[in-house]
């Protein structure tokens, strides 16, 4: 499961509800349950199942619906060859802001922008006590902001190395609105089903 897709999954559900209504969302959820045994969140994380269900309901116009879902969540802008993503979905923007508003979580994420290492090393480098540090790290993992990207062998055991899904972040206020611009790591962008969808739509 691509971490970028997982991060966007929750927000997509709210966009479906906004455009087509809670009734349609329930109907799609019911069909997903019947056909794949998936909930809406699970199906967004396995996007091909949602795609197939939307096609069953809306035929070829499913492409357009998916594009609207994605456009309602973020916009893309390329600066110096890097693809910056502006988060437009309120829930997703609040999730990022809340995580960066916490001093210790920010320390962890900023360290992980450029490093991929084990949890204990992250806590040691950020000088955060282990007791509260693991709780904070767990929250970041659950929210999809910190992800395992490789493994290291330590005394015969495989230990995950974690990294932030961002390479950079720019938060500013424009016309009384908080704008969150994210620079996602290229390997996550490359393997994201949702980003492929955006790329196809833009071409």
């Amino acid at each position: 499961m691509n971490p970028l897709d997982a991060l966007l999954a929750e927000a997509l559900s709210s966009v479906i509800k906004k455009n087509l209504g809670a009734r349609t969302l329930k109907r799609i959820e019911k069909r997903l349950q019947e056909k794949y045994g998936y909930t809406m969140t699970m199906s967004i994380k396995n996007f091909h199942t949602l795609d197939a269900t939307l096609r069953e309901f809306f035929g070829p116009t499913a492409d357009r619906i998916e594009k609207d879902f994605v456009n309602g969540i973020f916009g893309t802008d390329t600066k110096n060859g890097d693809m910056w993503i502006t988060i437009q979905n309120k829930e997703l923007a609040e999730l990022v802001l809340e995580s960066f508003g916490n001093k210790e979580k920010r320390k962890i994420l900023e360290y992980s922008f450029t490093n991929s290492t084990t949890l204990s090393k992250i806590l040691k480098s950020c000088e955060i006590p282990k007791s509260s540090g693991y709780r904070l790290i767990n929250e970041l993992i659950q929210r999809g902001l910190l992800v395992a990207d490789s493994y290291v062998s330590d005394e015969g055991k495989e230990i995950s190395r974690y990294t932030s899904i961002f390479n950079g972040l720019d938060i500013h206020i424009k016309d009384n609105t908080i704008v969150v611009n994210c620079l996602f790591k290229k390997n996550f962008l490359k393997n994201s089903y949702i980003m492929k969808l955006v790329h196809n739509e833009n071409n």
């Binding site: 509800k17 906004k18 455009n19 087509l20 209504g21 809670a22 009734r23 349609t24 109907r27 069953e56 309901f57 809306f58 035929g59 070829p60 116009t61 357009r64 619906i65 609207d68």
Partner: protein, 263 residues
Amino acid sequence: MRHKRGFAFSKFKKISNKSFDCILILAIVFLIISFQAYLFFEEVKKDFLVSDTIYLAVPLFTSIVCFCTAKSYGFSDVFGKSIFALGIGIFFYFLGEVTYLYYEYTIEADPYPSFADLFYFLFYPFVVFHIHRNIQYFGEKVSKSTKILSGAIGIGIVGIFVFLTYSDFKNSLFSFYIGLFFIISTAVTMSFAIIGVKAFWQTVLSSSWLIITVSLLLFVVGDVWYYYLEINQLYSYKHPVNMFWIASFGFIVYAMLKHLRTM
């Protein structure tokens, strides 16, 4: 109370699609024939009659059904707002009927042409908004052939009206231009509906959209016939042309129920 509503809805859902379609089509046809038969035997109009109540009740009921459908979609951006707009359009038609009867009974003046026509006209932009909102979201790029077909149907509707009234319109030029204005509006609405049929063709909403198109087609026939009758001063409240509008609203209610069953 909640339990009872849930039970009623589950029963409504349990009826098979074919039975559901048959029941509703038969109900609409039965009501139309009964109403026309009733009009045939109704006394000559002097005071407010049962038929006037029906002319008022049908669009009011249809607009309420549309508002309830929009509410059940939580006034969402596409389904909710577009169906709500359709409800507003039909509500304006209802206000047109109220104004028409006000002219007829209270002022005792000829209701055509009158201020009521302004309300009747407001029906069209809201229906066009309803169709456009759906096409905008669900429709792919409109192909050249669809554009030509919908344009030809629109021009055809206006052409039929001009052809029918060509020999008589010089006697009543004002009525002709008002009629032409309404026929152009109804033709534009119908053209949009044809594009809508194409947009929804391969979706689960195709049947619901087809029913809306049929209802608009009935409305078009009613409009063309009515303005032809007005130019020739042949219209009466007992004329079968009224049944086309009543049937049209009946089919809109049917389309809304179908929409709710599908989604």
